[in-house]
Symmetry: C2
Subunit: 283 residues, 2 copies
């Protein structure tokens, strides 16, 4: 997917939020935003939205001198999500359609700002999940492809969210080989290997990394091991907007699981902003 | 007031909205935003927020080749507000405190996006106005200063809003000489002389212009006539954020009437975002 005009505004806001999270003052923020603008004055409209986000976060990381600005936030999200884990499992147990429920839970991790929901009961979260409409729902294809899959590649997204991914992966772990990809280096609140392990993903999947500290994943620049798994996998699932932005033009068959949070991604997918998406590309 | 880090994001959004209103495509929008960013990479933190807004709008006007991008919108807002005028007048007639009601109506023009409220009854609008809390309410000073005023200078803000200003000015037009300032050239949806005349302001006030097409007003660069009235006036009322941003550091006594719409202005005033403000500077 190519970057859109809306990406300028959104990523400048993200840079400011990161500067504030790093505890820097207004004067410092001003200098960071000047630098992001300097870079964006040369922004190529062939960039992905994810790359624009990476540029903003990288400038901020370098200027504030903290590589993992969102460290505390990620730990907080992991903890919150782990507290919900037993109830999420129970919810799958009791549901009529376990696969669909587990899938909804995985996408829930992409929906939920756990900071907002920490005091809210899991049933209320699930009620919300159930009532958000699907914009795209390639359910039949997904069931078929998943059923025949032996090597599954799952491209993870944020810290906290990885606990929700675990619930889903535990449900579909029926003799499959599962690979789970996280970022190699910190970028925004994206999950690192330590987050995946904290979430218990290592109990069910082989954890690999993108080799980079960038939003999304560029398979062509990924480590050899990831490239090999990418070729061997018979089912690829991609979580969240950043991975969609960097993988949407790939020729391989990929399922995108996400909530279309922003105007640019919603328009690209042809869905209402806020809709849930289970989309097979080339379907 | 000095520009804040939030102003980068807000003004880039405004530039994009203006490009879209001008009917230009994504490719064109991209080039405009690159140009805004180029300019903002050199942004001086001593600029006013209003100047940052002016830069974004001016770049957009020049690149799209349309000076008055918001012309249709302004006409629409004027028409909507004029349809409400008889009901606003009646509301003042029936109220227990006519001055306070008229003042609230004037600020209502700064609150209300008439595009949103066109189908809504005036009583519902006024209900909303009445229930938005005051962040700053220098009512006693205002009453005293207004009571003794003979030459009143009122610095207007947006098209549509000028009709609400008229209701207020008609209420306080008790033998006073009233001057009403609009922009000389188009900028955003700010009122021009033609908007003030359409709203009927000319029946009650002498209309002057800032001499510029910039957000807010810089008295030092205003026409001689405005500078003279500025000195002669014994009561100065300034509407909206743009005028506050450019006048807040002036040594003269000024009443600021506005809704603190954004984070930067709310923080500057020390009020909750969204609060109503009737503030006398140097009070």
């Amino acid at each position: 997917m190519k970057a859109q005009a809306e990406c300028f505004e959104c990523n400048i806001r993200q840079a400011l939020e990161a500067v504030e999270k790093a505890g820097k003052d207004r004067h410092f923020a001003w200098q960071v935003l000047q630098q992001v603008c300097k870079n964006y004055s040369q922004a190529d409209s062939n960039w992905t939205p994810a790359f624009m986000t990476t540029v903003a976060h990288r400038i901020t990381q370098e200027m504030v001198g903290i590589q993992d600005i969102f460290y505390e936030e990620k730990k907080y999200y992991n903890r919150m999500a782990l507290e919900l884990y037993p109830q999420l499992k129970e919810y799958v147990e009791k549901s009529n359609n376990r696969l669909e429920t587990a899938l909804r839970i995985a996408i829930a991790g992409n929906i939920i700002d756990l900071g907002v929901y920490k005091e809210v009961k899991v049933n209320e979260i699930l009620y919300q999940i159930e009532h958000i409409p699907w914009g795209i729902y390639d359910w039949e294809d997904f069931q078929t492809d998943l059923h025949s899959s032996k090597i599954l590649l799952y491209i993870g997204d944020n810290a906290g969210e990885v606990v929700f991914d675990r619930v889903f992966l535990e449900e579909i772990n029926q003799g499959r080989q599962i690979y789970f990809i996280v970022k190699e280096k910190p970028i925004s609140n994206d999950a690192l290997r330590e987050d995946a392990i904290e979430a218990g993903i290592d109990k069910i999947a082989t954890i690999l990394t993108t080799g980079q500290g960038e939003i999304g994943i560029d398979i062509n620049r990924a480590p050899q091991e990831v490239q090999e798994v990418w070729k061997r996998a018979d089912c690829i699932l991609s979580k969240g907007q950043g991975n969609f932005e960097t993988l949407s033009d790939r020729p391989e068959s990929i399922y995108f699981l996400l909530k279309a949070k922003c105007k640019a991604v919603s328009r690209e997918l042809g869905v209402e902003q806020g809709a849930l998406v289970l989309k097979k590309n080339h379907s």
